[in-house]
C-alpha cells in the first residue's frame, strides 16, 4: 500500500482509505460529518463540471470541493 494520493485525484468508482488530513480545521469538520482517518470512502460521483465530488462514508453521502479534497491524503484500495 504505497500509492498515496490526494482525494482530489481519485476517480469515480474508486474505494479509498483516508490516511491523513493536513488541515486541522478541515479535519475536525470532516470528523463531525462522519469522515475520519481510517474510514473507507467510495467515490460515488464527480460533478459534470469536474468539481465538486460526492463520496460515501459509512452510509452517508458528502459533497466536497476539490480544493478541500486536495488536503485529504488517501490510499487506493482494490475494488
Amino acid at each position: 500500500m504505497s500509492n498515496f494520493i490526494h482525494l482530489s485525484e481519485a476517480k469515480k468508482g474508486d474505494f479509498v482509505r483516508i490516511e491523513s488530513i493536513d488541515n486541522e480545521k478541515l479535519s475536525v469538520q470532516l470528523l463531525c460529518m462522519g469522515c475520519m482517518v481510517g474510514e473507507i470512502a467510495h467515490i460515488e460521483q464527480i460533478a459534470p463540471l469536474g468539481d465538486p465530488m460526492m463520496i460515501s462514508i459509512d452510509g452517508s453521502l458528502l459533497s466536497l470541493r476539490k480544493s478541500d479534497a486536495r488536503e485529504v491524503i488517501v490510499s487506493q484500495l482494490k475494488k
Binding site: N23, E24, K25, L26, S27, V28, Q29, L30, L31, C32, M33, G34, M36, E44, Q45, A47, P48, L49, G50, D51, P52, M54, S56, D58, G59, S60, L61, L62, S63, L64, R65, D68
Partner: protein
C-alpha cells in the same frame, strides 16, 4: 430535581429546544409538535431563521418549542451552528425549565451521536429521539434502545417523525423527565486539542454503536438514491432534467401566478374605488385609497409568486434534489464567489427579485448568500417588461430587423443579457471585498432521496408568506405613504391655484370633462413635490438624455418599476395607463420646449432602457433585502451601487447613440 407539580392541577409551561444534525428530521418533529401554532422570525442580530411554537405535552403541561438550526457538532463553523451553540450556552432570564430534545438519524447513528455526546458532557437535560427507525428496519437492523438509554444515562425514544410515530412516547418522556446526575461521556482532559477530543469521542461512540446496533454490517447508501443520482447528476440527463424543472418553476412564477395576481390587482382596485366612493372626499379618503390601500395591494400582489416559488423550493429541498442542483452547478458558480444553490435565486430573479432573494436562505454560507442577494436585483424582472415594451416600441419601428431577426426582440434579449452579465460580473469583483469569518471549507451532506412531506411544504409556504407580509410589508407601506405624499402635495398654494384654474373654466370652452380631469391631474403631478424633485434633478439626468418628466417617473418608479408607465400616462394626460398606443403617440410627439427637438430619440430611449435594467427602483426589494440581511447597510449599498451603475451605463449609452 424531579418535577413535583405534575399531576397537580397547576398548569405548567416548559421550554423544549430541538437540536440535531441537518437532515435528521428536525422540522418534521417541530411541525408534529406545534402544528400551525408556530412563528418564524430571526435570531437577534443574525439572519438565521428562528422557528418557535407552542405544544401541548400533557394535560397540565405545555411547552414553548424552539427549533434550533441544524448542526453536526458544538464546534460551530457556520452562522447557523453558532446560533445553536450560543443558544444552548445562554441563561435565559425567565428561568423556565428547559429540556433539550436531540433528534438523531437512527440509520446513521455513529455520526448523529457525536452532537448528543457533547450535550451530555455539558451536563444539559437531554432526551434522545431516534428518528427514521423505518430506514433502520428496512436495512434489517435493530437498535437496542434499552442499552443505549442505560449507557448514555438519558431517555431514548425511537420514532418516525414523518409519519408522526413515537410522538406520544416522546411526550410521555418529557412529562416524566427528571434530571439526574450522569457520568461524563468521556473524561475531561484539560487543554486537549479539539481534534483529539473529537477522536476520543468517536472512539467511544464506535464502541457503543457496535453494541447497540445489531447486524451492523457494512452501511450502504440506499440503492434508490444511487440509481437516481446516476441519472440526476448525469452530464447530459442531469442538466436536461434540471432545465425542465427550471422551466416548470419559471412557468409557475411567471404565468401560473398571473391569474391570482390579476385577481388581487382588480380586487384592490375595486375595493379602492368602493372606499373612495363611500367615504366623503378629502385628504383622509385619498390617503386611505391612494396611499394605504394601494400600498397594501402592492404587497399582497407578491403572494402568488412567493407561494409558487416556495412550493417548488420546499419540494426540491425536501426530496433532496436541491443538494444535487448545488452539486451540478457549483463548479461553475464558485468561480464567481457564488454557490451551486445560487442558481435558484438568480433564475427566479427573472420573474421577481422578492421571492428570489427570500430563496437565497437555502445557501448556508453567509458570504455566498450575501453575494447572491446583492446581485439578484440586477437580473431583469417581470416588472421591467412594461417599461421595456413601451420604450422599445417608441424608438424602434416594429419592422426593423437585423438579418432575419426582429430588432425589437434583439434589444429585449440584450437587456436581459446585460442584466445577467452585470450580476455575475458584480459578484466576481465583490467576492474580493466581502470578508467573512466563516470557515472556507465547503462540505455538504447530500441527503438521500425521499418523497416530499406535503405538510412541510404547506408550512414552508405559509411561513414565507407571513414573513413577507409582516416584516417586509410594514416597510413597503411606509414607503408607499411617503411616495403618495410626494406626489399628492405641492409646495405653497400651487395645488389650490390649479383647482381654481380648472374650476373657473378658463381653459378651452369646448373641452370635455374627462380630458379636463386628466389635464388637471397632470398639472397637479407636475406641481407636486415629486414634480419639483423631478425638475430639481433634471440637471443631473440631462447628460443621460432625460428631461424632468422622466425624472418624475424615475422617482415614482421606486414604488415599483411598472409605475413608470402609469406616471408617464398621467404626465402626458392619457386617461388609461394600459392604453400604451396613445401614450406612445404622445411621447413620440413630445418636443423639447427650448430646442424644439424630439425628446424620445433613439439615444434617450436606449439610455432609459439601460437605466431601468440596472437601477434598483423597487421598494419591495429594498425591504426584503433589509429583512434578509438583518441590516440597512446592504440595501443602502445596493441602491447606491446599482444607481451608480445605471447612471454611468446610461451616460455611455446616450453618448454612443447621439
Amino acid at each position: 430535581m424531579g418535577r413535583k407539580n405534575v399531576g397537580s392541577n397547576q398548569k405548567k409551561k416548559i421550554r423544549l429546544l430541538l437540536v440535531g444534525n441537518p437532515n435528521a428530521g428536525k422540522s418534521s418533529l417541530f411541525n408534529e409538535l406545534t402544528g400551525l401554532n408556530q412563528q418564524v422570525g430571526n435570531f437577534p442580530g443574525v439572519t438565521v431563521e428562528k422557528k418557535s411554537g407552542n405544544a401541548k405535552i400533557a394535560e397540565h403541561l405545555s411547552a414553548e418549542v424552539i427549533d434550533l438550526p441544524g448542526t453536526y457538532s458544538l464546534s460551530p463553523r457556520s452562522e447557523d451552528e453558532r446560533v445553536t451553540f450560543d443558544y444552548l450556552n445562554q441563561k435565559r432570564p425567565d428561568n423556565k425549565e428547559e429540556i433539550i430534545v436531540v433528534i438523531a438519524d437512527a440509520s446513521n447513528l455513529r455520526r448523529n451521536l457525536l452532537l448528543c455526546s457533547q450535550l451530555i458532557d455539558l451536563n444539559l437535560p437531554v432526551i434522545l429521539a431516534l428518528n427514521m427507525m423505518d430506514i433502520v428496519q428496512k436495512n434489517k437492523q435493530s437498535i437496542d434502545i434499552k442499552y443505549l438509554s442505560e449507557t448514555l444515562s438519558i431517555p431514548v425514544v425511537p420514532m418516525n417523525a414523518r409519519l408522526g410515530k413515537g410522538i406520544t412516547e416522546l411526550k410521555a418522556n418529557i412529562t416524566k423527565f427528571a434530571r439526574k446526575d450522569r457520568p461524563p461521556f468521556i473524561s475531561i482532559i484539560e487543554g486537549e486539542k479539539p481534534i483529539d477530543n473529537a477522536q476520543r469521542r468517536n472512539q467511544r461512540i464506535r464502541e457503543i454503536v457496535a453494541k447497540a446496533v445489531t447486524a451492523e454490517g457494512e452501511m450502504k447508501v440506499n440503492d434508490l438514491t444511487r440509481k437516481l443520482d446516476a441519472i440526476l447528476t448525469h452530464k447530459v440527463w442531469g442538466y436536461a432534467i434540471f432545465l425542465f424543472i427550471l422551466f416548470l418553476i419559471f412557468q409557475a412564477v411567471f404565468s401560473w401566478s398571473e391569474f391570482p395576481m390579476q385577481m388581487i390587482e382588480e380586487g384592490f382596485l375595486f375595493f379602492g374605488n368602493f372606499v373612495a366612493e363611500s367615504l366623503p372626499p378629502g385628504v383622509l379618503n385619498d390617503l386611505l385609497v391612494d396611499g394605504i390601500i394601494a400600498g397594501l395591494g402592492g404587497i399582497i400582489i407578491f403572494i402568488p409568486q412567493i407561494a409558487a416559488l416556495f412550493a417548488f423550493i420546499s419540494i426540491l429541498e425536501d426530496t433532496g434534489y436541491l443538494s444535487r442542483i448545488s452539486f451540478m452547478m457549483d463548479g461553475l458558480l464558485k468561480k464567481f464567489g457564488l454557490n451551486g444553490r445560487s442558481i435558484i435565486p438568480l433564475l427566479s430573479g427573472a420573474a421577481c427579485a422578492v421571492p428570489a432573494i427570500m430563496s437565497a436562505r437555502t445557501i448556508s454560507n453567509k458570504k455566498e448568500r450575501l453575494l447572491t442577494i446583492f446581485i439578484t436585483p440586477l437580473i431583469s424582472c417581470s416588472a421591467r417588461i412594461p417599461v421595456y415594451t413601451l420604450i422599445i416600441a417608441l424608438i424602434i419601428p416594429a419592422e426593423a430587423s437585423i438579418g432575419i431577426f426582429n430588432l425589437q426582440g434583439i434589444v429585449m434579449m440584450a437587456l436581459y443579457l446585460f442584466g445577467f452579465l452585470a450580476a455575475i460580473g458584480t459578484s466576481f469583483f465583490m467576492k474580493f471585498f466581502v470578508k467573512t469569518n466563516e470557515s472556507s471549507h465547503f462540505i455538504m451532506e447530500m441527503p438521500i432521496y425521499r418523497a416530499p412531506r406535503w405538510k412541510n411544504v404547506g408550512y414552508t409556504i405559509v411561513n414565507k408568506v407571513k414573513v413577507f407580509l409582516f416584516e417586509a410589508g410594514k416597510i413597503i407601506i411606509a414607503i408607499s405613504i411617503i411616495l403618495w405624499i410626494l406626489s399628492s402635495y405641492g409646495p405653497g398654494d400651487s395645488f389650490e391655484k390649479i383647482d381654481e384654474k380648472y374650476a373657473s373654466g378658463l381653459l378651452e370652452p369646448n373641452i370635455n370633462n374627462e380630458t379636463m380631469e386628466e389635464q388637471r391631474a397632470s398639472a397637479k403631478l407636475q406641481a407636486s413635490y415629486a414634480g419639483q424633485l423631478g425638475k430639481f434633478i433634471e440637471p443631473a439626468i440631462k447628460p443621460l438624455g432625460f428631461d424632468w418628466k422622466i425624472g418624475i417617473s424615475i422617482i415614482t418608479s421606486f414604488a415599483a418599476r411598472e409605475v413608470f408607465v402609469g406616471t408617464m400616462a398621467t404626465i402626458y394626460s392619457v386617461g388609461d395607463a394600459d392604453n400604451t398606443t396613445s401614450l406612445k403617440e404622445k411621447m413620440n410627439q413630445a418636443k423639447d420646449p427650448v430646442t424644439g427637438e424630439k425628446i424620445y430619440t433613439k439615444a434617450t430611449g436606449y439610455s432609459l432602457l439601460i437605466f431601468y435594467a440596472f437601477a434598483l427602483q423597487c421598494m419591495a426589494t429594498v425591504a426584503i433585502v433589509a429583512r434578509e440581511t438583518a441590516s440597512w447597510k446592504w440595501p443602502v449599498i445596493q441602491i447606491i451601487y446599482m444607481g451608480a451603475l445605471a447612471y454611468f451605463a446610461s451616460l455611455i449609452t446616450y453618448n454612443l447613440f447621439s
